[in-house]
Amino acid sequence: MAARSTSALSTTTEAILEVAQNAAVAAVAEQRPIRLVVRDDELRRSRITVFLRLLLAIPHLAWLLLWSVAASVVALVLWLAVLIEGKAPGSLHDFVAGYLRYATHVSAYVYLAANPYPGFRGAPGYAVDLEIDPPARQSRWTGFFRLPLALPALALAGALGSGFTVGGSLGASTYGAAWLYAGAGAGATAAFLAWFAALARGTAPRGLRELVTYAIGYSAQSAGYLLLLTGRYPSSDPSLVLPPAELPPHPVRIDVSDDLVRPRLLVFFRVFLAVPHLVWLALWSVAGLLAVLAAWLAALVLGRVPSRLHRFLAAYVRYATHVAAFVCVLGRRFPGFTGRESSYGIDVVIAPAARQQRLKTLVRLALAVPALVVAGALGGVALTVAVLGWWSALVTRRMPEGLRNLGASCLRYGGQSSAYVLLLTDRYPYAAPVLHGPPAPVFEHLPPALPGDAF
């Protein structure tokens, strides 16, 4: 009885903390000068417009191309104005802001984050919209060096597959390159998969939609910074999209308890320090392959993975996550070699073995293909985070929190994907780049997945 009371108290406390945290996140998000706002939660998509989405977008893309050329010229004038006056003139600011808003609408439409056909004027009020503060004073120095300063943010936006805002802002000459750039990232990958899902089901998977909106939002922040709409550097913190996305209950979640301090010596030699772990992980992977074959057969026969196999595979997933967190500078300390639970600052918490549907088990690998594709794209994001975080930590001795949280959310998806493939759960991974869900789940009583929760 006492134990139950304690558990209830703990759950309540966590719920309060979660609410407080969400409120704090919302407050921080509202303070940012460029904010992505998701105005409707509509996931239904008209199949015919989905099927023809790219063709329907052609007029918008042509118009965006023209607008990009004009915005590039105006941005040059803005740059001179910031250098001379330390502030962007209101009319020019509004023109570029309108362009950026329009690019966001088009990106959201093409990437299936929104359903309505957008207007051509970039007027506020679209389903996935951008709010941009009026012009404020900016440092002339950061204005002068804006392009080199924006490069890390642009690199991350590229890895995220950012839509049309970044490339378009650089002008017509780079527009084609922006297509290729955006086409290779996580947002574009999510949109590609969402296209098939929306055609099949008539709804966009929520996780994929949230991944796309996050990518578009970050891209818009980066473009706004590059185009001198604000002097505030973009934040990659996934919780800054409004309203903040939330993880649905899942048997695999990530626990981030690490601080942000990174001793320089450990940062500088990070990859080399990881060499023994990478060798050990490779050896463990061989054993893991054999174990998952045994688990697959057992799950087909028994309807669940035996506890010992489950523990072994869970330790493997945890260890792989610890190593990835260490390599990507997301974790501070040198991880252990056993994948022990709660032994590392970025940890994957995996629920005990539960019953699984035999049919899902039989075709698990085929079902996992889309998740693995997304995991690969998010792996690219994590790699970019690692490179940027490495430099940042080397200079400042700290990992930027936004980068850390984005990287951790990529690892969370990677962990969920691995757990799905390795038969630790039959719950599909959730693609939205968020860390926190509702209060700590009681694994035995997980609610069934809601429609749209998949991905």
Binding site: F268, L273, V275, G336, F337
Partner: protein, 370 residues
């Protein structure tokens, strides 16, 4: 300074002076690098243990972290000295490798070194946790076994060489193998001429993995066919005289007391079973390396001299040996008669002057009555 030949006359006064000037830079750089190394490791042995708090691994994992960090710090501290050496080598055309290529090649090597340090620490710390202070006896034995295994296996892991195609050299090899009483030994070539003008050949492997690898630079002019045969005979002699297994035996002689010294030195930090002892162990290993270098070099010089003599016996061509020494000195810009102390500290081979003197002594000996 010790050879019986007048090196100025054979190699040319100007060349000898230039070579001495070239090598003097190496000596100064080496001394400074060693001072920096020991000072750094001394500091690390006092402060390095504090990095243990950056580890979430157990004692052995933490020991691995401290070992790798020590290696990384040493690499950083040594980097300026190594850059200076590379600059000097490029300036004198003994290396064509660009700085970036050199640095990135070095990164790969560093990763391998990190892994080797980890393996060594896993063995030592595992044994120390199991056996306490008695770890040093089996520890030394394990390292000797690993060295022997490495010697056996390393040739099979080489994918950068190709078989020697020179028919005349292969025919000479068959003759020399019969005379030296060794079986057929594969002859291979490594292409290095794009990165260096240095010439070299090495005997590798033991038992079934024995082989000889020529750098392609030694198979081209200015080295004549006679000189190439001398090199071939020299390397075959290493195999016929079992120098590589003997090298392992010598290593065992050094390893046993070395391990005991490490055990004693780390006792105050809780012994090698605790990660805090690892920085001290690194310092002791570095000191042991410096201290035992003269003895190890002496052993190596004896073996090289023996191989030289055997090569003279089977080729019966002291003229080619003399020409080889002159050509080697020119391509490597080596001082044919370095100072005694430098030979003690760095000389793994007899000096070119001594080798020349040996060839002349061979030529001057009375004819074999047989």
């Amino acid at each position: 300074m010790r050879s019986a030949v007048d090196v100025d006359q054979v190699f040319g006064t100007g060349f000898v002076a230039d070579a001495r000037h070239y090598e003097r830079f190496f000596y100064v750089d080496w001394v400074l690098a060693q001072v920096a190394l020991i000072a750094t490791l001394w500091l690390y042995s006092r402060r390095g243990a504090s990095f243990a708090r950056e580890s979430a691994a157990g004692p052995i994992g933490t020991g691995m972290l401290l070992g790798m960090l020590g290696l990384g710090i040493v690499w950083l501290v040594q980097l300026p000295f190594r850059v200076a050496l590379h600059w000097w080598a490029r300036r004198h055309d003994t290396s064509d490798t660009g700085y970036l290529d050199w640095l990135f090649g070095d990164w790969a090597l560093l990763a391998v070194e990190f892994l080797l340090v980890c393996i060594a620490l896993v063995i030592v710390m595992g044994l120390a946790q199991w056996l306490g202070e008695r770890w040093w006896m089996p520890g030394a034995a394990v390292f000797v076994a690993i060295a022997a295994l490495f010697l056996l296996v390393a040739p099979y892991l080489d994918f950068t060489t190709h078989p020697l195609r020179d028919e005349s050299l292969r025919a000479a090899a068959s003759r020399y193998e019969r005379e030296l009483g060794v079986g057929e030994i594969p002859l291979r070539v490594e292409e290095v001429s794009e990165t260096t003008d240095l010439a070299n050949a090495v005997a590798q492997g033991i038992g079934p993995s024995r082989r000889i690898v020529f750098w392609d630079t030694i198979l081209k002019p200015p080295f004549s066919a006679g000189e190439q045969r001398v090199v071939l005979a020299h390397e075959l002699a290493h195999h016929s005289q079992r120098h590589l297994p003997k090298g392992i035996a010598w290593f065992a002689l050094f390893a046993l007391p070395g391990a005991w010294i490490i055990m004693r030195a780390t006792r105050s930090r809780g012994g090698m079973g605790t990660p805090q002892a690892v920085p001290v162990a690194l310092l002791v290993v570095a000191l042991l390396q410096v201290a035992t270098a003269p003895a190890a070099n002496w052993v190596s010089r004896r073996m090289e001299a023996e191989a030289d003599w055997k090569a003279l016996e089977v080729t019966r061509d002291p003229g080619s040996v003399e020409a080889l020494m002159v050509d080697l000195s020119e391509t490597s810009f080596a001082d044919p008669d370095p100072p005694e102390w430098a030979q003690v500290l760095f000389g793994t081979h007899p000096t070119l002057g001594e080798r020349l003197a040996m060839a002349r002594a061979f030529a001057a000996r009375p004819p074999d009555p047989g």
